[in-house]
Amino acid sequence: MIGVLRFLAQLALYVPLMVILGYFSSAPRFAHLPQDRALMRVSFSHAGERLRECHQRTPEELAKLPPNMRSQLDCPRERSPLKVEVELDGRLLLSLDVPPSGLHHDGAATVYRRIELPTGRHEIAVRMRDRPHGDFNHRATTTLDLPPGGSVLIDFDNARGGFRFRS
């Protein structure tokens, strides 16, 4: 009798434990992106132009340098920060100044942004300036129909002609 009671009592304790394990291992569901939203990601890595141009050293300048460093051309390594803007349906959504990486600011600048969007038809414009002066020198626009859970990825690859929209 005691044995049976014990068995039942143990069952009564193991069952909830297993229910807890079974339930919380997969529920409640997590809404990473609400059902009625779409996602835009801006992700690229790009090395801007040099901040200053190379210049030919004069003989006087050369004489001041140690002999092992006397190269004709003086090229400052520092790169220009990137200025990036994204417009959604004509409204400015994102405006970033991205500094170059590296101790000497001579590396590529990396952008990553994750932005939730309403679903539906959108006009997206992206532009970038990767030099110290002047107007935006890279631009692209597209019109997209984003379904719920749809995704658009804005990438930049100079070798492949600049901005790309991938969805």
Partner: protein, 646 residues
């Protein structure tokens, strides 16, 4: 504040545990085995993981399909193992967190326990990393979420700065190599965790690393049932072209990942980093326990007659197990009462335990639970050994006195013979308790070596005014019957060592030494043996010719008699003084020796600390007569001296 949390936590644990005791009984309560259960679940995870790995394809295209095939094509085995792998991992998180919480609220994480605690915190990280990493492998929507979330989280760190996530959102970057790396990590982290687990329990004396089998069996069965009723399944396959929206979520491993999209990555880092730092430092943070003694205390264990040290906050059980005392125990958590013992001297903190395990009345009568109590002063504890030494049963014998010789005015040599067909196995150095009609007992060492069967020799010294020895000298006759209990004590010659031996005998402390030396010579022990026998005057060396004969016949035996009080007419030219001082004079350094001290309480009490101060290791110092320095009763002389000397 934290004290309040501790107190409330203890109250809750004890309540729930007592409730569980109703169902499981106090010996098989899973709550007493949270660490061992976590360990056991870890083995299930490793075992099932190994099988899954055989069928897992580490390619982007193949991963999802291979897991699906295993889950559905092989549901009866591979599928169950997959579910076990998941549920055992989840269960491990649960039991691990409870285990952590219990050690925390019972304040068992400070002082010397910092080692287990800190390695535990690292384990916590490893277990979480392994689990989260595991969810990347089936390459379903959850995997997609987990890899991207991980990258987004780590990209907050300036060195990554947004580059990491690019490996996971561009389909051309998610290649087979990346997959091989992820699954390689999924083997590496658990193996590291396993190695750390061994370290984690390494300093816990006789740590249980597996639960009692009934718990293991029921738990496994329950997990299998759960696996059959609710198999672990993949979600839709990963698709980098579309965003992850609403997914099934493992709340044991991933809550931090949910937070990542409520807070910023930086805030989540602050939380996780701050919590880790706080946990790592917890053993040194307030509230500090009232510091009773930095060095800890001495613990005298009876009937072993062993003195060991107890550290601050250490349970008496742990201290004993650490030094090889065979304390009985089961749950180690104040539930079963198996570790009940008697406090015969000193002050303790009884700790927290179930009232069923130790009642108020028992507590008032000086009982304690070894697994819960901690020392507040030097203490003396007596327990009932469940296992006799070497499995040699203790029983009562009736023996006949066959011969008696008066070796000296105050020393009687008595030979006893057991009944026909009776045999008594013992270790050289053990003793018997002669049972007196009034229920008291007197202890005497065997003076014969165990291989000498047939006759048991005792050397009994007269204690004037005593209840037994005057009777031996004045009234006992050959043919009388003596009742005694044997074999007793854990004082015996340790044969598992190569160290040279020093025997110290005071007066009739020679009896156990005789037993041990004769045994050593009989088995051809090659270690060097040196006997210092201390008596008052030369005529007190009641069997003095015997050690001289051993010395002549055995190159590895030397005998040095020491007189404490020779008279001029003795013309003594040998050593003079207290016997232990003679040893101290001869050995500036005692490290690397074993000392067996047999003699009066006073002699051992003086010699023991002096030997330790000369570098003798605590575990190399043996005696049949130990008393705490602080606690020397005047009267009980006749009871305390199994060696026969006083």
């Amino acid at each position: 504040m934290l004290k309040l949390v501790h107190r409330a936590g203890r109250w809750a644990f004890l309540r729930v545990e007592s409730f569980f005791n109703l169902a499981f009984g106090d010996r098989l309560n899973p709550l007493y085995y949270l660490g061992p259960i976590s360990y056991f679940l870890f083995w299930i995870v490793l075992g099932s993981g190994l099988y899954l790995y055989i069928f897992f394809d580490t390619g982007v295209e193949e991963a999802y399909a291979s897991v699906e095939q295993l889950t559905h094509g092989q549901w009866y085995f591979g599928g169950i193992l997959r579910s076990l792998h998941r549920y055992a991992s989840d269960g491990m998180v649960l039991t691990m967190l409870l285990h952590l919480a219990r050690h925390f609220v019972f304040d068992r994480y400070r002082a010397f326990r910092w080692f287990s605690w800190v390695s535990g915190v690292v384990l916590l990280w490893l277990i979480y990393s392994a689990g989260i990493n595991g969810y990347m492998l089936p390459w379903d929507r959850l995997a997609q979420f987990v890899v991207i979330a991980t990258a987004e989280w780590f990209d907050w760190i300036p060195v990554f700065g947004g580059t990491l996530v690019r490996n996971f959102i561009f389909p051309e970057n998610v290649n087979d190599r990346l997959f091989s790396l992820l699954s390689f990590i999924h083997i590496g982290i658990p193996l590291a965790a396993l190695a750390l687990l061994m370290v984690h329990t390494q300093r816990v004396p006789q740590a249980r690393t597996s639960p009692p089998w009934p718990i293991a069996a029921t738990l496994s069965a329950a997990l299998v049932v759960l696996s059959l009723l609710k198999p672990a399944l993949s979600q839709a396959p990963a698709d980098l072209a579309s965003a992850v929206t609403v997914i099934d979520f493992d709340w044991f491993y991933l809550p931090v990942y949910a937070l990542l999209y409520r807070w910023s990555p930086g805030e989540v880092w602050a939380l996780v980093g701050g919590a880790t730092a706080l946990f790592l430092l917890a053993p040194w943070l307030p509230p500090k326990r009232r510091r009773v003694s930095k060095e800890g205390f001495h613990l005298l264990v009876r009937p072993d007659n062993h003195i060991i040290s107890v550290r601050e906050g250490e349970s008496i059980l742990d201290a004993g197990l650490r030094e090889g005392i065979a304390f009985p125990f089961e749950c180690r958590n104040g539930g079963c009462g198996k570790c009940k013992a008697t406090l015969t001297y000193g002050e303790i903190d009884p700790g927290n335990y179930q009232k069923d395990a130790l009642s108020e009345a028992e507590r008032a009568a000086g009982k304690l639970l070894l697994c819960c109590a901690t020392a507040l002063s030097d203490i003396e504890v007596e327990y009932e050994p469940t296992e006799p030494l070497g499995g040699r049963p203790i029983r009562t014998y009736n023996a006949r006195v066959t011969r008696m010789n008066r070796l000296a005015p105050d020393v009687m040599q008595v030979f006893l013979a057991l009944g026909p067909g009776e045999q008594l196995d013992y270790y050289a150095g053990q003793y018997i308790n002669v049972l007196l009609p009034n229920g008291e007992h007197r202890s005497f060492s065997f003076a014969t070596a165990p291989h000498v069967q047939g006759e048991i020799e005792l050397q009994i010294r007269l204690v004037p005014g005593g209840k037994f020895t005057p009777w031996v000298f004045d009234h006992m006759q050959v043919g009388d019957t003596i009742r005694f209990e044997a074999p007793l004590g854990s004082f015996f010659l340790r044969e598992d060592s190569d160290k040279p031996i020093i025997f110290v005998a005071g007066s009739t402390g020679f009896a156990p030494v005789k037993s041990m030396v004769e045994h050593a010579l009989h088995i051809g022990l090659k270690r060097n043996m040196l006997l210092y026998w201390g008596v008052r005057r030369p005529q007190d060396l009641y069997l003095g010719e015997l050690p001289r004969q051993w010395e002549r016949e055995h190159a590895n035996f030397k005998f040095i008699p020491v007189m404490s009080d020779p008279a001029p007419e003795d013309h003594w030219t040998g050593r003079i003084g207290l016997v232990h001082e003679a040893i101290l004079a001869d050995f500036p350094d005692l490290a690397g020796h074993q000392i067996y001290a047999c003699g009066s309480v006073d002699m051992v009490a003086a010699a023991h600390p002096a030997f330790l101060a000369r570098g003798l290791a605590q575990e190399d110092c043996f005696s049949d007569t130990f008393l705490l320095p602080a606690h020397k009763p005047g009267g009980a002389a006749e009871i305390m001296k199994p060696g026969g000397g006083r």
